[in-house]
């Protein structure tokens, strides 16, 4: 049985209850929350509408009016109780089995025109741009969550040799496909938007495409390996509409 005490469960609205687990980003904790998330989506309770996973929390959304109409005087009490029971139903070993995610090989062009902040990141770590690129391509990054904007992925955990605070003043326009660093996170801007992450490259791939049945290329639990391409390869592979 999962140890209920380690989960902090509290409402954030009349229609949403958060399960918080741990204080720091950790892959193992995110995997446990993913396990709960899958459970709610595959066996939804009456009135369930959605979940939202983050680094260290899973928020369960529901329709209070619907649950009330089914005879529950307090939808919040009903869902809180249900979440506790669901957590207890998992055994410790259930929660330790890794959840298989997809692995993605993502081409990134780190050439100057597409990496406006790469020199600043290299300077911050007192090393060369090449060393930064090598480190960024040297490991598989784990996708913790999709959020903020449609399709925006939060990956990590970057080592201290790559981590860098976000910009003091966000850039007004970050190109679609831009790959950035913020603290110990790395991620890809799906669409052109303002943004505060340090941009070190750009992928020619669309990571969010509404024409697809599943518009998001990534989901929480996936892993991503970046691989360096040159400008000609970027142009050959480019899926972004020309501006």
């Amino acid at each position: 049985m999962a140890n209920e005490e380690s989960f902090h469960i509290y409402p954030i609205a009349e229609s949403a209850i958060t399960i918080e687990y741990g204080k720091e980003p950790a892959i193992a904790a995110n995997q446990v929350l993913l396990r709960f998330q899958q459970s709610f989506h595959s066996v939804p309770f009456t009135g369930f509408t959605d979940t939202s996973i983050t680094y260290n929390s899973l928020t369960v959304f529901f329709d209070p009016g619907h649950i009330f109409a089914k005879g529950q005087p307090s939808p919040l009490a009903f869902v809180t109780d249900l979440i506790r029971k669901r957590i207890r139903s998992f055994s410790g070993s259930d929660l330790q089995t890794p959840i298989p995610g997809n692995h993605h090989l993502i081409p990134v062009c780190y050439e100057a025109a597409m990496a406006p902040d790469l020199p600043a990141v290299a300077a911050f770590h007192q090393t060369s741009s090449d060393a930064i690129i090598q480190a960024h391509c040297a490991e598989d990054w784990y996708v913790f969550m999709i959020g903020f904007n449609p399709g925006f992925s939060y990956m990590g955990i970057l080592p201290d040799t790559l981590a860098m605070p976000r910009k003091q003043r966000p850039a007004l326009q970050v190109a679609a496909g831009s790959v950035g660093i913020a603290g110990k996170q790395t991620g890809i801007y799906p669409n052109t938007s303002p943004g505060g992450w340090q941009i070190i490259g750009r992928t020619p791939l669309l990571v969010f495409d509404l024409r697809e049945a599943e518009p998001c290329l990534f989901k929480a639990g996936d892993t991503v390996r970046f691989t360096r391409i040159d400008l000609a390869t970027f142009q050959y592979l480019n899926q972004h509409a020309s501006p």
């Binding site: 009349e14 229609s15 958060t18 980003p25 939202s52 983050t54 959304f61 009330f68 449609p150």
Partner: protein, 325 residues
């Protein structure tokens, strides 16, 4: 239905649920209470797609007789120079024009029996402009747009239409004042947010004792409210957490950021509070010349107020249909 003139007008329904893990916002009506009342008056389910009109003049013509209702705030309406009251069902005949003129800031809903039959995207007809999704090709309506509406009314709709067709009944039936949203109310109730304790006692006092004015920089995603600087005692950076319409975040310069229908799915600013669902429409309809006051209630209280509102809507719907049967 043909749009002849459109200010800022989008197609919305109750929202797009189940897509938070794609980072897609819920969207939907900014003032769900007004829109639900409009759908009730036109014999629709609450989720029927309606037009949300928020800036500039609007006009449309109709090819067939349609059962309509106007709800919300901000506009005056006319058919052929004849003023049309809000919160009343009315008929527009083939060839007639409906004209709306802005009066003050606000969202007005035009509900049509059967709803606007545009194509749903990911389970909803709501327009999300930032991702060019839903509604009419993911964009605001513009002059020349032809919107599909139901030609054959259902049983409830037909009863209301038959009633209104007797000329003497025109505009006679409408909602009483006691059930309408009170947009003059400047007290917005909230529950403590998850990071409530990150703020100084003084900041928490200021939150309830000061007035807050919405800035001109507001849209369907959210609004910045200007007031005294709310200082934090706990200054750690927050890991991004779930946010939703009604979440009150505090920006690094100590100002309130209130999220509305197009709220992002997660956010990294501390959540000082959450506007109760029963009051969210009042905050969304607040105009720049209003000053809002926030009042804290318990989560149990918030839930009761919401369930009361839901019960009242259900009762109203029963009474309304009974009236025509």
């Amino acid at each position: 239905m043909r749009v002849l003139k459109s200010g800022i007008c989008t197609i919305q329904d109750l929202g797009r649920f189940g897509n938070r893990n794609r980072g897609l916002p819920v969207s939907g009506f900014m003032d769900p209470l007004a829109a639900k009342l409009g759908n009730l008056l036109t014999g629709n389910d609450s989720n029927a797609a309606s037009l949300e009109i928020s800036r500039g003049a609007f006009s449309a013509s109709f090819e067939t007789t349609c059962l309509l209702a106007l709800t919300g705030k901000g506009y005056t309406a006319y058919i052929s120079g004849r003023p049309i009251p809000f919160y009343h069902p009315f008929l527009i005949k083939a060839g007639e024009f409906l004209q709306l003129f802005p009066k003050e800031t606000g969202f007005t809903y035009l509900s049509v029996h059967g709803g606007i039959r545009s194509n749903p995207v990911f389970g909803s007809r709501s327009t999300h402009l930032a991702s060019k999704l839903g509604g009419q090709e993911g964009r605001p309506l513009r002059a020349g747009d032809q919107l599909p509406v139901t030609v054959l009314p259902d049983e409830n709709g037909q009863r209301i239409i038959d009633y209104l067709l007797k000329a003497s009944n025109h505009h006679q039936v409408g909602l009483s004042h006691s059930v309408l949203p009170d947009y003059t109310c400047q007290e917005i109730r909230f529950i403590a947010g998850a990071e409530y304790s990150w703020f100084s006692g003084e900041a928490l006092n200021l939150l309830q004792s000061s007035g807050f004015r919405p800035s001109a920089l507001s849209n369907r995603m959210g609004s910045r409210f200007t007031g005294p600087e709310l200082k934090r005692i706990h200054t750690a950076e927050l890991l991004s957490q779930a946010v939703l319409p009604g979440t009150i975040q505090v920006s690094p310069d100590g100002q309130l950021l209130v999220l509305f229908a197009d709220a992002q799915t997660t956010g990294g600013y501390p959540r000082i509070g959450q506007i109760i669902q029963a009051d969210l429409h009042l905050a969304a309809q607040c105009s720049v010349d209003n000053v809002l006051h926030f009042k804290q209630v318990s989560i149990e209280n918030a839930e009761n107020l919401l369930l009361q509102q839901e019960k009242q809507l259900l009762q109203l719907k029963r009474d309304y249909y009974l009236y025509f049967s």
